[in-house]
């Protein structure tokens, strides 16, 4: 397939029906200081879209705003055509959006299985579906089945990420917001974590909006790339249009100004 045809088919998909669309969003932690200053982007169903940019560009803030932790005061966010920018996190989760925050995000004092059950909050009234979701998670990650009775705090860093992703799969989201999945991990684990992410994603058929400092590896995984600086999109396009040198020079531009 030629680059042009890939480009047109991808852009067609994005044009016709984006799963998520963020339009001109403004949001911040303090009144009068906006971290996101009119940011717009779209995520196509089933795609892996990565957001890169220098520190403080607003990447994590973007995910928090989409998940409803931080209310935007201008612009709109739509998921499957429906406005979600006024909803609280539980309602957003119920629509099929999952959020995997930075760092290891397991509950260390709960067992591995209890951690998985936590991800099944939405299924809590449906025991058969809950059991099936747990079996599915164990099939995908057999290591978790072996250690199901151990406290999650006993897992290693990479296993912790695995559990975090498996727990997110429990509710079978259509969109996963993933923040810095490789931050603070040993370099030899980075490839493993991306493999886990892809595996988790394929098993539930979810689209992923990935925020990452690990630019080179992340773009290697992605279909579509957004480069954010100072709360706005600076560049966007197919992952193939972002070779390493171009990204490095773009980020340098952002930092130097």
């Amino acid at each position: 397939m030629s680059l042009a045809s890939v480009l047109s088919s991808t852009s067609n998909r994005i044009m016709s029906e984006p799963l998520l669309s963020v339009a001109d969003i403004h949001a911040g932690y303090e009144e009068g200081i906006d971290i996101l200053q009119g940011l717009s982007l779209t995520v196509a169903a089933g795609s892996l879209t990565v957001v890169v940019g220098p520190n403080g560009a607003g990447k994590s803030t973007l995910l928090k705003t989409i998940f409803g932790f931080l209310p935007g005061h201008r612009g709109e966010i739509r998921f499957r055509g429906r406005r979600i920018d006024a909803l609280r996190p539980p309602a957003i989760k119920a629509l099929g959006i999952g959020y995997v925050p930075q760092e290891i995000n397991v509950f260390p004092f709960l067992t591995v299985e209890e951690n998985l059950l936590m991800g099944g909050w939405m299924l809590r009234r449906d025991r058969t579906r809950l059991a099936a979701a747990i079996e599915h998670a164990y099939e995908t990650f057999p290591m978790l089945a072996q250690r199901r009775r151990e406290p999650a705090g006993a897992l290693s860093g990479g296993q912790g990420r695995m559990l975090g992703l498996a727990r997110e799969m429990m509710s079978a989201p259509t969109l996963m917001l993933v923040d810095e999945p490789t931050a603070g991990l040993a370099p030899n684990l980075v490839a493993e974590v991306y493999a886990l992410l892809q595996k988790a994603r394929r098993h539930v058929g979810a689209a992923v909006l990935l925020v990452d400092q690990n630019v080179e590896d992340a773009i290697g995984q992605a279909d579509y790339v957004y480069l954010v600086n100072l709360g706005r999109i600076k560049a966007a396009g197919l992952a193939t249009e972002f070779p390493v040198q171009r990204v490095t020079s773009l980020i340098r531009e952002c930092l130097v100004g």
């Binding site: 932790f69 539980p90 957003i92 925050p101 509950f107 709960l110 209890e114 936590m118």
Partner: protein
């Protein structure tokens, strides 16, 4: 989550028989006063266990638990005193009223973080205490409000059995709650509320639900207690009652179902018999609580678990002290 195997089932039965023995024997052996102390111990067991639900399992350190007991007691007492309700209806209203106050207060304070929650609930409890004292035309304040007894013959053994039955029922209900999915979400909120929120769990709603349930249990205990002590005083809502509950739970084991069961009765028995030496018992208990908090020990129940694990490990390896 532990599945009950056959061995565990046998163990559970042994524990049940032992517990039944401990509960059923005292009326045959103890005098009336000792039986009275044990009956009040049952009241404190329900209070301590329901506060543990909130503080130990959900991480919400409310300081208003004694006030909910007082609300349960006074609601029942006042309704019966002024409107001549039957006792059982009075108790039902007491529980409902405590639950509603819990729901209302919970909605206001549970979005707050730790220290603010403690201060706000303490202020609420003091308000209840002062209201009960100051509204003496209605509540008779420190003079005491007379309420009818549950049993007309004032038989200590009957009260003892009723209260131990109440305590067992309440604690078993709370055990089921902690083991349910709700219990899992409670513990997750205690461990890390933000992480729980990231999973789409409506953390504030779960906290309000637990606060309401815990207040209802306190109201239930208070309402029953009212018709045992027969004269109600605002002392029920005094902060020293809350302090006693904290001591019971921390000593027994915060965040463990068995903690309040282990802590409540001994503390109540000791405070009663040490009363002849003035308030010194509270000083001793306070020091013990500080020591437990300082060493992050898990109370007596944690100690028992640690010993059990050690014994089991030695049995499995067959080599005593191999890992020491």
């Amino acid at each position: 989550m532990k599945r009950l195997g056959q061995a565990n089932g046998l163990k559970a039965m042994m524990v049940a028989v032992l517990a039944a023995g401990i509960i059923l024997l005292p009326p045959a052996l103890a005098g009336d006063f000792a039986l009275h102390v044990l009956t009040t111990s049952c009241y404190y067991t329900v209070l301590a266990a329901s506060w543990n639900l909130l503080a130990g399992f959900t991480g919400q350190f409310s300081l208003a638990h004694q006030a909910f007991a007082a609300i349960g007691a006074y609601t029942s007492g006042l309704l019966i005193h002024y409107f001549g309700l039957p006792i059982w209806a009075g108790i039902g209203c007491g529980v409902t009223c405590a639950a509603l106050f819990g729901l209302g207060l919970g909605r206001i304070v549970l979005a707050m973080r730790a220290i603010y929650l403690a201060i706000a609930t303490w202020a609420f409890a003091e308000t209840v205490h002062i209201l009960l004292t100051a509204a003496y035309p209605i509540t008779r304040g420190e003079l005491g409000l007379s309420v009818p007894p549950l049993f007309h013959n004032l038989n200590p053994a009957a009260y003892y059995y009723l209260f131990s039955g109440l305590a067992v029922t309440c604690v078993l209900t709370m055990y089921a709650l902690v083991r349910s999915p709700l219990g899992l979400f409670m513990r997750a909120i205690r461990d890390d509320e933000l992480r729980a929120a990231c999973l789409g769990i409506p953390t504030t709603r779960v906290k309000i639900l637990v606060f309401t349930l815990s207040s209802a249990f306190a109201g239930l205990a208070g309402a029953f207690y009212a018709h045992y002590v027969v004269v109600l005083s605002p002392q029920l809502a005094d902060f020293s009652e809350m302090a006693k509950l904290i001591i019971m739970v921390v000593l027994g084991g915060l965040g463990s179902v068995s903690g309040p069961l282990i802590g409540a009765a001994p503390v109540q028995v000791l405070t009663t018999y040490l009363q002849q030496y003035g308030e010194w018992d509270m000083v001793v208990f306070a020091l013990v609580v500080i020591a437990i908090m300082r060493t992050r020990a898990a109370g007596v129940s944690g100690l028992i678990v640690a010993i059990a694990v050690r014994v089991r490990r030695q049995r499995e390896t067959g080599a005593p002290m191999a890992d020491a």
